[in-house]
Symmetry: C2
Subunit: 243 residues, 2 copies
């Protein structure tokens, strides 16, 4: 039997080159949206609703009696309650709650993937690396690893996460894709010093100005939040609750 294909999309700008229908689409936004989503759900959040606009975030928060969160340039957006840091969502705070989250890059890509007809949208980050890899192997469907990038520019951290997934699943997929080959090679080159690597990225330089080093180190550490967020009926919920 032929194995399903796997491709890596390095920026939202490259999305419409591919036919993503009938596939699993993995949204990757390592610093920090998808790391935060995995962490909040792992710590018991009922669901995470990703929205594009701040107004919509405030409105939904009121309507659902939910926690609202979002940052621009490392600061909480006026009108919202919390930020994009995984550390803000420990179990004793988030358990049983709904989180409405607005982010610049990850949310945009998620909505683009849905619009392009992706069949199954999940989110990936180092904190839930193994959960993502195991799910992809189980499903036996074509996969697109979608890097959210930074304002459409290629970024290293999302690419390295794609590489980590590829390294874990590649014997189960047919991969003829230079982006995937590059991503895995970059991952193998840096996997034994992910904290050192993170300091090389342009994103690190942006966020470390805001004192977020500890956050960023958490975001490149595998399997701190072993859960699989799946997009179902407008929200990201843990996969275990959907079966």
């Amino acid at each position: 039997m032929q194995q399903p294909t796997l491709h890596t999309i390095l920026s939202p700008r490259m999305l419409d080159i591919y036919d993503v229908r009938q596939s699993i689409f993995v949204i990757i936004d390592v610093f920090r949206a998808t790391s935060t989503i995995a962490t909040a759900l792992y710590n018991g959040a009922k669901k995470v609703i990703p929205v594009d606009q701040v107004d919509q975030c405030i409105e939904l928060g009121k309507k659902l009696n939910a926690i609202t969160a979002g940052e621009r340039d490392g600061k909480i957006i006026p009108g919202l309650q919390y930020g994009n840091s995984p550390a803000e969502y420990p179990r004793n705070f988030i358990e049983g709650q709904t989180l409405v989250l607005t982010t610049t890059n990850g949310t945009k890509l998620l909505h683009m993937a849905l619009q392009a007809g992706a069949d199954d949208v999940i989110t990936g980050s180092f904190p839930n690396l193994s959960a993502v890899a195991n799910y992809l192997i189980e499903q036996k469907k074509p996969v697109f690893l979608g890097c959210s990038a930074w304002k459409d520019r290629f970024n290293l951290e999302d690419t390295l996460f794609a590489g980590a997934v590829i390294h874990a699943v590649k014997s189960h997929f047919t991969i003829h894709c230079d982006s995937s080959l590059m991503a895995e090679q970059m991952y193998l080159q840096h996997k034994d010093d992910m904290h050192g690597f993170a300091r090389l990225t342009t994103h690190w330089h942006r966020l470390s100005q805001y004192g977020l080093e500890k956050d960023l180190e958490y975001c490149v550490t595998p399997d701190g939040a072993p859960i699989l967020p799946r997009y179902v009926d407008g929200a990201l919920i843990p996969h275990s609750k959907t079966v």
Copy 2:
């Protein structure tokens, strides 16, 4: 004094993220347009005129009494005389001639860069690596390394050439760009076995079906055609003739 900036653009799809005005834009299409352009000019071609359309290629060829060339899927396009292989343009054939060339990826990016207002457009490939690096160092202007990619998909060979240029010039530029960091790291990882590396790329698999292995090896070997093609008045001509 602050050093000029350098960015790497991984696909034509990413071009309009950047403001390329007042900059030097390097068109990279390693397999094989920019390798062929360097080779033809090094072997004495008067100029190379890159055109988008086959019709335009035929028409200009007649008008200028020029050699017409272009391939699709490894075969010479009906109506044109020659292909995209550097080996087709030895000195005893091309010296003093004008070559009108149509290619899928490189020509498209060149016209996009011009339209976006790039100030100075040159072409780069391993056969003219050092000529490109030396020119960029001399000029002291902002630089964009533009990968032609394959039908807008990221490709490894153009990225590795960008990495080779970055490795040669980086002490002269300010580089805060994850694409550039990745490109240089990929280059350093593969530079001692470029022939082995080339065999990993998806493009190799496409072209090697047409028996072009020797061509592809030439295209990843540095400095076989040490010349700098610059776009002046609608054609690529050797830089030495422009000063």
